[in-house]
């Protein structure tokens, strides 16, 4: 897995205003109404999305991901950062630095 922990310095990620999501048993389905595309997030990425929508701060989110995914801090950071970067690249999140 890529180490994203240094890529996201001073970055903010916000939900694209045209993105909606649906919670499923096996993850979260994102729907981009403007780009007309969808993306299914399995776990633990679905948990990252869920925690972000609930307004959890980054540090707390990484802490929770360590428990949800049973991984160490670095790995949890990588999961969170990788997920944020990838969703920003695909237009589901808007990134500002």
């Amino acid at each position: 897995m890529l180490n994203h922990s240094r890529q996201n310095r001073n970055a903010s990620y916000s939900c694209h205003p045209k993105v909606r999501w649906v919670v499923e048993i096996d993850g979260v389905l994102l729907i981009h109404h403007e780009l007309e595309k969808k993306k299914k997030l399995g776990y633990p990425e679905a948990a990252v999305w869920d925690l972000a929508t609930q307004g959890f701060a980054y540090a707390r989110m990484v802490d929770l991901i360590t428990r949800i995914a049973s991984v160490g801090f670095r790995e949890a950071e990588n999961i969170v950062n990788g997920c944020l970067e990838s969703l920003a690249e695909q237009g589901f999140l808007q990134k500002t630095e």
Partner: protein, 328 residues
Amino acid sequence: MANISITTKCNKKCRYCFASNSDNFMEGQTFEQTLDFLERSGIKEVRILGGEPTLHPGFSVFVRAALNRGFGILLFSNGYMPESALCFLEELPAEKVKILVNVVTNPESFDGLDKRLVSLFQRLNTKTIPGLNIDTPSIQLDFLLDIVLGFNTMRKVRLGLAHPKAEGGNHFLHPRYYPAVGRKIAEFSSKARPYGVGILFDCGFVPCMFPESSFSSIGPEMAELGKRCNPILDILPDGQVASCFPLASLQQEMLREDLTDTELRNVFSKKQETFRSMMLYKKCSNCTYRQHGHCTGGCLSASMQRQRFSKFTLTVPDCQGTLLSHFF
């Protein structure tokens, strides 16, 4: 199949209705264009609805025009039609005209049926099919069987579910109530079958709402029930076409002279591809009915009501690694 809404005007105020109850009337030329469209699509039946279609000043002219071109008529009415429309329909041959009467006031029993509806069923009897749009789990259905047997209507009843508009704003039957409604339909079906009375199901019914023990009494329709969320093609009074009324805000297409129903359906299906992964319940993703091809996940418009949105922003601090090691 395609439905033609010739007016949004109505004389009732059903809380689940998609129409705006305004004086929108389809023009004669647009109606002719829709008949051309049906003809080149090989569709033999004109499905006329509203609002209350009999309130259109050109109602009888439209019906005559369709009959003269060899179409059969399926009319959707609330039954509260002007006397002139009632007389006109009385005169038409039963083999060419069917009238789905949506009983908008769900009476507790047959005795509670409004006098005007009693008169309509008496006069149009064998041309009619009584029906109900279900917008609450506290429905009574037995009166429908009484209507069929008491007035000698066609041996069918039509049931519809009140679906939400994609953009929201109308009253609808929440999918959490579907199992309660399914049980009532199953009971009704077991009473109706011995009289040879079957159920015509509109779109959006799903297998998981019915007790499995009732599948055989519901009949062969059961196999197809969960696969009925497809572009219906609802043609609006201004000649625009929507996939169906609830999805009208997502996309509308002009009724172009070169398009057939199949081509239009493909246009809508393509647009809906992104949304089709949304399904009625969380449990749909693991559902065996879906895995075996018996259900596609219910009404798309109802499924879209599950969408969430929030304006979250997550800030990733510039010293994240260090901060974290202190934090823990």
